[in-house]
């Protein structure tokens, strides 16, 4: 064949070509129908996490080790479909939640802290399953001295006391980042890192901030 000359089809290839084209047309039509069906399904916002359990390493000043556990209940949730994912519908979801939290840690030679309280906040999950959250809390804080505690008796002698704790109030604020793991347990499991600070009130004649970080896993119970 010379360059620039018209291409001549072989007459024996016409019918098979028509068959292939017809098949392609039918199959692409079926595929298009399937995509449309999936799109309809994906266009339905995912159900919000109603009940989430989180378990964390609780590090007061990072390195004074402890653990915490919390359960959050979603009060309201709003999902927004993102326009940029036109082929597959995706959503970012904002949830307002309240929860209860129990935590404890030990600052060796200083004190053992036990926190029991409530928290409330907002959590946003992006289309790529990343989590951003902010929360406020209020806890009963039991601060127990970590050492031998002496008190002076009425007669001027000393005795060790077993009552080493003092009751405190501890408001707190925390911010977190994390991610749901879509490939694991059907996306029910996630991780989070949550720096925060709680305030020990009273502390001597004032208040004492306790910065902390929580690193852990969260699990959708419902």
């Amino acid at each position: 064949m010379q360059v620039g000359s018209p291409c001549k089809s072989h007459p024996g290839l016409i019918w098979p070509s028509v068959c292939v084209l017809l098949c392609l047309c039918f199959s692409s039509d079926a595929m298009a129908q399937k995509i449309a069906r999936d799109d309809v399904l994906l266009a339905i916002p995912p159900a919000p996490d109603q009940l989430v359990l989180d378990v964390s390493y609780f590090g007061e000043v990072i390195a004074h080790p402890g653990m915490s556990a919390a359960i959050d209940y979603t009060l309201s949730s709003k999902a927004i479909r993102l326009a940029k994912f036109t082929d597959r519908a995706r959503f970012k979801q904002t949830s307002w939640f309240v929860g209860g939290e129990l935590g404890g840690y030990r600052h060796r030679g200083n004190h053992v802290g036990l926190l029991l309280g409530a928290r409330a906040g907002v959590r946003r999950q992006t289309a790529r399953s990343f989590l951003f959250e902010a929360m406020l809390g209020a806890s009963y804080f039991h601060k127990r001295l970590d050492g031998v505690v002496y008190v002076v008796d009425d007669d001027g002698t000393f005795s060790e006391t077993r009552i080493k704790g003092r009751p405190k109030f501890a408001p707190s604020i925390a911010f977190g980042i994390g991610q749901r793991l879509p490939w694991f347990l059907d996306g029910a499991l996630g991780w989070h890192v949550r720096p925060g600070v709680f305030f020990e009130i009273p502390f001597n004649t004032t208040a004492l901030p306790h910065p902390y970080v929580q690193v852990g896993l969260n699990y959708r119970l419902r």
Binding site: H107, G147, T205
Partner: protein, 375 residues
């Protein structure tokens, strides 16, 4: 994307495990060894920590009475960790509303009119508590630094000095009035040297009506402000002393600083709470230590006439070039007590305010000699 997520998740798990491992191991580092424990004295709303470290078997305890007010005792751990702790137990006591001390009490019970006596009472109880813990035959010496000398002297005046086997005082005072006089003398002495040598002030002192540009101005100011009787004068004198002190230190002291603990050691691996230290220091500063104001606990007072009944062994170990509590105070302290001369150790070091830090070996050697003489 999922593969990337998975990889990130695995890395996060590894990091989490490393964090747990670090946390579980790091908190033991500075607490290693059998010869240390943390005691607390609970008294009138305060939970004061006493970190006892070192050679407890020696049956000799040095109680650290830290500076401030509102300072902390842990700051002295690096000074003693590698020397005196080998020979004796050191009890690092954080005073009420100082250091890592905890508790809950009203600011009405902690102000410039009542805190000093209350803290002296605390000190008396800490000494008794140490003997309760380690045996009545334990020898207890106390070392006060800066404000710790003012507090320790109050204890010696208000309570039974014989509770102590010896008192070691460094660069602190027994009288605000004598401190002012000694600081004026310090400024006169060294400002005159600066004039003779043609030296200049590193910075001018302009506070209130004072405008001190040269060493001669400093001399003139002192001559016009002796004695110190007003709060405004204390402000100028303090600042001027610091400026003169800068020149004196650069000329006369050659600090041989002690090796400090690794950075973060006290933050992550000890009973110390640096955040509590900061809050306590700031709050105590406001309540009782607000220099140059009427709420300060550290000006215009005098115990020098009430010290003759103090006859226990006393060591006055002083940084000679200190502008904060100048050497003149040490002479007055020696002359105010009733201790016989043979039981007084009187040493000066080429140091400023903290001889235990600036000349640790010489200082520790003298402390050792004093204790061995009187244990």
């Amino acid at each position: 994307m999922r593969r990337l997520n998975r990889r990130l998740f695995h890395r996060a798990l590894l990091g989490f495990a490393a964090l747990l491992a670090m946390a579980s191991s790091s908190c033991g580092e500075a607490l290693e060894g059998p010869d240390q424990e943390v005691l607390f004295l609970r008294h009138k709303g305060a939970d004061m920590n006493v970190w006892v470290r070192g050679n407890i078997d020696s049956k000799v305890i040095i109680l650290v009475v830290h500076g401030g007010a509102g300072g902390n005792s842990a700051a002295y751990v690096p000074d003693y960790k590698d020397n005196l702790e080998h020979d004796y137990a050191i009890a690092y006591w954080d005073q009420r509303h100082g250091g890592s001390a905890q508790g809950s009490f009203s600011k009405k019970d902690f102000n410039h009119t009542n805190a000093w006596a209350l803290m002296a009472e605390d000190m008396m109880l800490v000494i008794k508590m140490l003997r309760t813990r380690y045996g009545q035959d334990t020898k207890v010496f106390a070392w006060g630094h800066s404000w710790g000398v003012q507090l320790g002297t109050k204890f010696l005046v208000d309570h039974d000095p014989e509770l102590l086997d010896g008192w070691i005082a460094s660069n602190g005072t027994h009288s605000g009035d004598i401190e002012h006089a000694a600081r004026n003398a310090y400024i006169l002495t060294y400002a005159q040297q600066m004039v003779d040598e043609g030296a200049e002030l590193s910075e001018a002192v302009t506070r209130g009506d004072a405008n001190i540009q040269t060493p001669q101005d400093a001399i003139d100011w002192v001559n016009a402000n002796d004695p110190i009787t007003e709060w405004d004068q204390t402000d100028v004198q303090w600042t001027l002393g610091g400026v003169i002190g800068d020149w004196v230190y650069s000329r006369y002291t050659d600090p041989d600083y002690t090796e400090n603990l690794p950075p973060g050691a006290l933050l992550f691996s000890s009973p110390v709470s640096p955040i509590a230290q900061g809050i306590n220091s700031a709050r105590t500063g406001t309540l009782i230590n607000n220099s140059y104001r009427e709420t300060s606990i550290q000006e215009f007072w005098d115990l020098s006439t009430e010290m003759k009944h103090i006859t226990i062994p006393i060591a006055l170990l002083w940084g000679k070039y200190d502008h904060i509590i100048p050497e003149g105070v040490a002479y007055s302290y020696r002359d105010s007590i009733g201790t016989p001369p043979e039981d007084i150790m009187f040493e000066f070091y080429d140091a400023g305010h903290s001889p235990e830090y600036e000349q640790p070996d010489a200082f520790a050697e003298d402390v050792r000699a004093f204790i061995e003489q009187h244990r």
